[in-house]
């Protein structure tokens, strides 16, 4: 029998989940965007709501035009919740719906959220999405929904969770076997699909993990890191 251990205290100390996004690999193909929608039961807004700016993407590809023809350039940057170590969205939540887990996730407790949207206001990355409408799927599109993930109702704030359902699943398996989660064992949906392997996910507390090693790259930087948000996502600069 393996002795029961708290999931946040695996052998060798807690996890610290993080991601590396290599901008030199990202091609803007958006496979990650659909993979995330599929995995996390993200609602379809439709044309009218999208026109009001109410479409929801937990991960989106930002694009930046620079220069003019014939020297125009376009750059892609996948942006999702940065799971800030020092998250501006957290202290402003009056009901503690937005909080930090010991393993470094910026979690959102949907059934606690009262919809004041202070968190959305305070997030410098604008990655929080408010559910202005009750989610709706034309029958039988609802049959595809992932039973591991709740459908968020109208009036709550939602955002990327680093596919927490997959993380917890892998942690439980590891825990049962009395070991740590191995590197590469948890893969969020976006990371799994990305053809170019621009996205890498793992435990920053494991110095041997791919994510830890890549984050050491001298190409690494944090998005708006001058704000002191301490993002858990390290971007690697595109090379020109």
């Amino acid at each position: 029998m393996v002795e029961y251990r708290d999931q946040n205290a695996p052998p060798g100390g807690p996890y610290q989940w993080g991601m590396v996004i290599d901008l030199d690999r990202c091609t803007g193909c958006e496979a990650c965007v659909v993979a995330c929608k599929a995995e996390n039961n993200i609602r379809i807004a439709g044309e009218d709501e999208a026109a009001q700016g109410r479409a929801v993407y937990w991960i989106r590809i930002e694009r930046y035009w620079e220069g003019e023809y014939p020297n125009a350039q376009l750059k892609f940057m996948p942006v999702l919740c940065q799971h800030c170590g020092n998250a501006p969205c957290e202290p402003v939540c009056p009901v503690y719906a937005s909080y930090h887990t010991p393993d470094g996730l910026n979690a959102q407790v949907y059934n606690r959220c009262v919809g004041v949207r202070y968190c959305g206001n305070n997030c410098p990355y604008t990655v929080r999405y408010f559910n202005w409408f009750e989610p709706h799927w034309d029958e039988p599109l609802n049959e595809q929904l992932n039973p591991d993930v709740t459908v968020r109702s109208v009036g709550v704030m939602e955002k990327c969770t680093f596919c927490v359902q997959r993380i917890r699943g892998a942690q439980q398996t590891a825990q049962k076997e009395g070991r740590r989660v191995k590197d590469g064992e948890v893969t969020p949906a976006c990371v799994q699909s990305c053809p170019t392997e621009a996205l890498v996910f793992g435990d920053r507390n494991d110095p041997e993990s791919r994510v830890s090693k890549l984050a050491e790259s001298d190409r690494g930087f944090g998005l708006l890191e001058e704000l002191g948000t301490k993002p858990a996502i390290t971007y690697l600069k595109r090379i020109k």
């Binding site: 193909c29 958006e30 379809i44 479409a55 014939p70 039973p147 591991d148």
Partner: protein
């Protein structure tokens, strides 16, 4: 044989090891779950089944997560050599094809005039009789237009049509045809090669959209990632030459704009420089043919015609021939011209000159697996247009459609509609009511691919044959198209019945695989190999042996492309390009893809016209203004989006919207830019030259409503400041 007996695949129950499906004559077919290494399994009661994606022609291996008999999520099959666990947006969204609310739920017959789009249900038995007796009444006059189905189904279609003296066309609206034609001229090889992007050090691409929709985008995406950051010391360089800054060009180190249709000339100039500067290792015997051809071209004249400066041409040539393993590829806008094939031959010549055939980082030829697929060739638009030519093959005949939508993908100027109008009976096997199916008299709907047996031979990349099993119980009263053709063969009797004597399509697939395994590994028990193939999602070899080429064809022509419409009256080049999410329109009925922001403009749920911002301002056009785009053949109206990656004299519009049928998410949304095209063809390949029509624009004075979801990108440029570096 009574089809009802073979009305298999009905729910009885779900076993823990997979769905138990009652087969024909009481035979049960047990579905075999994909075996994931333990640590990759996401807990919950989920089974994963391996199959093959059919959303584009690449045929990536997929695994489907099935819970309580419902498909919940699709991932790439980690074992499949093509995509190695990766999957694109279309593949991810195929669940929305399976669960699409507008699927055809059973056989239908026309109710009202042809093309009115009104249908009423008809029993299967009656539908089958009508179809088969129509075929019998038109001996030799039947035509089947099918999407390419490389595998058992291609064999079935070909055999059936041959036996009833009909014709089958495997048609796909893409520029693959010029590529094949060019490879035949250059290398004497018929099948598509593999471009070893992953190991190249210098990639020179002439318009090939390999990061969005060309040949096998996921395969190339993965290879691209490795080319950039997958090797310890080398970062592959990548230069894209094309008129418009495409999604693929956005990832390039350098984008070299060029005048449309002159890409082949640029390749000629580079080739000439390689020879002149003595950097070829072409065998002496071959060299003279190349020298002879290049002799009549001068670099400064080419600089003038292409709009690429002479220094840039010299730089490209030097970069190319000094690279450790250079690779030149061509496609997309470069090949979608009236001189498309010649352009690609000129690009191939660069590879021949530096001798990178069958070398790592170069072009490699792998013979497709010897799986007994039909060798049926994919045809270009010309072959379809010949149906209404003088021979009038299709008039007063039976026209059949299998997942081909020529009334959407062929411009009205080709008058292909005639073929539908003249046919005695139009039969469609499509699961969706697309534009062409809406013109049918009889609809015998196929299962969706996730409900079907099937296989898919991969061409180019190392030999592989994917195997598909139904991962869910068919939802509606649809039937596998393979069963329909076997059933028809049976009703026909005679030769066709003899050649196609299988009781059902699943058995046919299984028998093909039995033959295949018997030949490969004689004496080994089939059952174990079959189960393993189902479990793994097919059969493949880790790495094939490249086939040597028989021929080193020098380019023979570098004619400039022809354009329809005078420059004076129609001052703009026009380029309709397959949209990232909707491709050639087939993605338009998937809400996820409709709501997927176009990566370059962030537009969702509609069409837009891309114009260089300066040009737009000259015309007094602001973003979102509704503009009329007019060609000698038609006009469309769509809102303007400023596109800094367009040359001042080029207008581009994505293909994919503008459906008149195809369900609630697609219908009546945006415009189809193919409507403007002239019926111009690249003669050697028979492919439509989609880049060959000129247009003009007119203001309408009205505002459109393109939905841009770019709420955050604008004005937050500080994001990028950390994002760029020198290296």
């Amino acid at each position: 044989m009574d089809l009802k007996r073979r009305d298999f695949l009905k729910v009885v129950g779900l076993g823990a090891a997979g769905s138990m499906l009652p087969g024909c004559g009481g035979e049960t077919a047990k579905l075999i779950p994909y075996v994931l290494p333990d640590e990759e399994i996401v807990p919950g009661v989920a089974n994963w089944y391996a199959s093959v994606c059919r959303e584009c022609e690449a045929g990536c291996g997929i695994i489907v997560r099935v819970m309580e008999g419902r498909a919940r999520k699709i991932e790439g099959n980690p074992d499949h050599p093509l995509n190695r666990g990766k999957l694109c947006a279309l593949g991810q969204a195929s669940l929305q094809g399976l669960y699409n609310p507008d699927r055809i739920r059973g056989p239908l017959q026309r109710d009202g005039e042809r093309g009115e789009g009104r249908f009423k249900p008809i029993p299967w038995e009656e539908a089958m009789s009508r179809w088969v007796s129509a075929l019998q009444k038109h001996p030799g006059g039947a035509v089947l237009i099918s999407r390419p189905v490389p595998g058992t189904l291609a064999g079935l279609f070909s055999t059936f049509m041959k036996e009833i003296s009909g014709t089958v066309f495997f048609y796909e609206p893409s520029a693959e045809r010029p590529l094949r034609a060019a490879n035949r001229k250059s290398f004497g090889i018929d099948f598509l090669p593999d471009y070893d992007l992953a190991n190249t050090t210098y990639l020179l691409s002439f318009g090939a959209p390999f990061l969005s929709h060309w040949l096998s985008p996921v395969h190339f995406g993965a290879a691209y990632g490795r080319m950039r950051q997958g090797r310890p010391e080398v970062r592959g360089r990548f230069v894209q030459v094309e008129p418009r800054l495409s999604l693929t060009a956005a990832s390039a180190d350098r984008w070299v704009p060029i005048r449309p249709g002159t890409e082949g000339l640029l390749a000629v100039a580079i080739g000439r420089l390689i020879l002149e500067e003595g950097r070829t290792n072409l065998p002496r015997g071959d060299r003279s043919r190349f020298e002879k051809f290049y002799a009549s071209f001068s670099i400064d004249r080419i600089a003038n015609e292409t709009g690429v400066a002479e220094e840039e041409i010299v730089r490209l040539a030097r970069e190319f021939y000094t690279a450790a393993s250079p690779l030149a590829i061509g496609g997309g806008i470069a090949s979608e011209q009236t001189n498309g094939t010649d352009t690609l031959v000129a690009i191939n010549a660069l590879n021949l000159l530096v001798g990178n055939i069958n070398r790592p980082g170069g072009i490699r030829f792998f013979r497709p697996s010897d799986f007994p697929a039909s060798s049926a060739e994919v045809v270009g638009e010309q072959a379809l247009l010949d149906l209404k030519g003088p021979s009038k093959k299709a008039s007063r005949s039976v026209l059949m459609l299998y997942q081909a939508n020529p009334l959407y993908t062929l411009p009205p100027s080709t008058q292909f509609r005639q073929v539908f109008e003249e046919a005695d009976l139009v039969v469609s096997f499509s699961p969706f009511l697309d534009e062409s199916t809406a013109m049918a008299d009889l609809i015998l709907p196929d299962h969706f691919f996730l409900e079907s047996w099937g296989d898919h031979v991969t061409e180019g990349i190392a030999p592989a044959a994917g195997l598909a099993q139904p991962v869910v119980i068919p939802r509606y009263d649809t039937r596998p198209v393979g069963d329909l053709f076997l059933g028809a063969a049976n009703r026909f009797g005679g030769g066709v019945k003899e050649r196609l004597s299988w009781t059902d399509y699943r058995t046919m697939v299984r028998e093909q695989w039995r033959d295949f395994f018997d030949r490969r590994q004689p004496g080994q028990p089939f059952e174990a190999a079959w189960v393993e193939a189902l479990q793994k999602g097919g059969w493949w070899k880790p790495e094939g042996k490249p086939v040597s080429i028989s021929q080193r064809g020098a380019p023979s022509a570098a004619e400039p492309a022809r354009f329809e419409g005078s420059e004076k009256e129609f001052p703009f080049y026009f380029y309709p390009f397959p949209s990232m999410g909707l491709h050639y329109g087939q993605g338009a009925n998937r809400p996820w893809l409709q709501e997927l922001p176009d990566p370059m403009t962030t537009v969702v749920w509609g069409s837009w016209v891309e114009i260089n911002p300066k040009t737009a301002q000259e015309y007094g056009l602001a973003e979102r203004d509704l503009v009329r785009v007019i060609s000698p053949y038609g006009e469309i109206e769509a809102p303007v989006v400023y596109f800094p990656g367009n040359p001042p004299d080029l207008i581009s519009v994505p293909i994919g919207q503008g459906h008149r049928a195809y369900g609630r998410y697609a219908e009546g949304r945006g415009v189809n830019p193919l409507a403007l095209l002239a019926p111009l063809i690249d003669a050697p390949s028979g492919a439509l030259a989609t880049g060959a029509t000129r247009v003009r624009i007119e203001r309408t004075g009205r505002k459109g409503r393109p939905v841009l979801v770019d709420q955050t990108g604008q004005g937050t440029r500080r994001h990028t400041e950390g994002g760029e570096g020198e290296a």
